[in-house]
Amino acid sequence: MAGLATIAKRLLEALPTLFGVILVTFVLTRALPGDPAVYYAGPAADAESIAQVRHAMGLDRSLPVQFASYVKGLAAGDWGVSLSTGRDVTEELGRRLPASLELTLLGLLIAIVVAIPLGVLAATRPNSLVDHICRIIVTTGVSMPVFFTGLLLVYVFYYQLGWAPAPLGRLDFMYIAPDRVTGLYLVDSLIAGDFEVFRASLAHIFLPALTLGIFALAPIARMTRAAMLDVLSSDYIRTARASGLAMRTVLFTYALRNALLSVLTTLGMVFSFLLGANVLVEKVFSWPGIGSFAIDALVASDYAAVQGFVLAMALLFVTLNLTIDLLYAVIDPRIRAAN
């Protein structure tokens, strides 16, 4: 199958990148100020006990040796132990990654559902009211920092109106998390058929996802508008109009599908911005995701956790880029042919 071969090829091509990421994070974490041995030996420790801790952690070995043992561990699926929590890094990430992913994906979904129709409308009626509204939303979206949007939404919808639950994590304490299948509460609760939990987790995730959505809206709407304008002035749209095709067919079957090629590129970029913005949103909403985990790990000089976080992100990006490339091939036959 050509598709599978392409995937395999792309994954192989990603290996050097991943190795580079591993190496750079390894060096960078070591170069950062802060000595984990001092940190974990505690404030009362003397030089001897610090040296003991350092030896126990393997930090007295040379950097190449440490790196080799880290890579060897990775190859065996061992990402190391988080010193601040005492658990395996893979376990920590496995628990928190779905929370972050659920938030990011829902934020992206909200952004797409609003931004693409908005961009299409704005492009079909340049300089109309819709176009101006689009421009205002886009400008507001990019100029508001996410933590500010988040705080504003919490202030209005939780504090003032009381419509939203307290911004404290994924679920109220009185609910029990659904059985884990995907780790996404919205999906898992539906699988379990537990609509009450679904409603509760939706209520919790809505504001932080909306925060991310507002942030992601701007680039998607702008790109959709630009790409649609470009496509609408193309020769084949003129042909479609000269053939008397219905407005709907011209706009969606002919124009939007072609415009989506550029929008898809933007989506990839927006998704990576969102992962960055996540860190702040997770803090504001006490969301138990990997962003807040990474910040804590960084402060504590928790090497394995920081490295694990960056590696997880890198893997996510590789997967994301692969997905986008595959989607390109779905939309564009020219790319299918080139593969």
């Binding site: 020769d235 109009r241 053939s243 008397g244 219905a246 072609n258 564009d332 036959p333 020219r334 042919a337």
Partner: protein
């Protein structure tokens, strides 16, 4: 002979940063049923704009201050988009230059034909595919069943233009507007495409409005020729009559600039000057600046069209004709 398409008194302006551009100045054209009218002129003479205004696919910046486009009794300029869409693709169709970009790059050509078929009539699902393949067969595309699944990038320019013709003719229109249909194709392909158009025209009684800068091509395929210059129709006549005795100096100039099998390249003359900028104040005769026969009365306002006393159906817009 009643005209199928009758364009009268049509002006088109474009608003641009450099002021209003008067692209068409009260032009008149008519095409009878089954007839081929060629509109000839150099680049920028407004040929394509004329075609686009007939089809209602002008750019948003365009404005039509006056004129009438009568197609089978319907005024296309006054028609609503919905009414126009009933006519476009079904009653009249258009093919364009650069066929590669005129087709949707990410849609199978077969589906692009089906889109038009479905739009203009109830077609059963399986029937649409059969009729699309028939349409491909009609334009002599070899192996039409396989080409149905092809994307434009998989086809040569000549095949793409055939697909365009198939799209245009699949609903059996009465009028085909062909805007420089052979530009960008190699010479042998040009000839086969033109022959195909002529043949299909004869078979189906199709009227054709052929837009070209190539006078030789026009003389070969058109029943009548309208010569345009700077947004004005300067002369219109049956092909034989026009070539026998051109009355407008510009037509004569174009003929002098067109190579034939018997003239040497050195003997070719170019029309002096160039099309005047259309955003400035324009003289009554837009060719006056380039014309060696200009006299004072050329600048008088008033009608300029005159009929040739000897040749029927031969009109020219010149106060001092040849």
């Amino acid at each position: 002979m009643s005209a199928l398409l009758e364009v009268s008194d049509l002006s088109v302006e474009f608003r641009s940063r450099a002021g209003t551009v008067h692209v068409l100045d009260r032009i008149a054209l008519s095409v009878a049923r089954g007839e081929t009218l060629a509109v000839v002129g150099e680049s920028g003479s407004g040929k394509s704009v004329a075609a686009f205004s007939i089809m209602g696919i002008l750019d948003d910046a365009a404005r039509i201050p006056n004129g009438r486009v009568d197609f089978g009794g319907m005024d296309l300029l006054k028609a609503k988009r919905r009414e126009l869409d009933e006519v476009r693709g079904r009653e009249m169709a258009m093919i364009f230059q650069s066929p590669r970009t005129a087709l949707n790059p990410i849609r199978k050509v077969g589906h692009q034909i089906e889109d038009v078929l479905r739009r203009h009539g109830p077609v059963a699902r399986g029937d649409a595919k059969r009729r699309a393949i028939e349409a491909l067969e009609q334009v002599r595309i070899p192996d039409p069943g396989r080409r149905y699944d092809a994307y434009p990038f998989e086809l040569s320019g000549g095949l793409c233009q055939r697909v365009m013709i198939a799209i245009a003719l699949c609903c059996k229109p009465r009028l085909l507007i062909a805007d420089e249909p052979t530009t960008g194709l190699d010479v042998t392909t040009q000839a086969t495409i033109m022959d195909l158009l002529a043949e299909l025209g004869r078979e189906t009684g199709l009227a054709t409005l052929l837009i070209t800068h190539d006078l030789a091509l026009a003389s070969q395929y058109a029943d009548r020729i309208a010569v345009m210059h700077a947004g004005q129709v300067v002369e219109t006549a049956p092909t034989a009559s026009l070539f026998a005795a051109p009355r407008h100096p510009y037509t004569a100039g174009l003929m002098g600039a067109t190579p034939t099998s018997t003239t040497a390249l050195d003997a070719l003359e170019s029309v002096p000057g160039r099309i005047p900028p259309l955003n400035a104040d324009l003289p009554v005769c837009r060719f006056a600046e380039r014309c060696s026969r200009r006299v004072a009365e050329c600048d008088d306002p008033g009608p300029r069209f005159d009929a040739d006393a000897q040749a029927p159906d031969h009109y020219f817009a010149c106060r001092r004709p040849l």
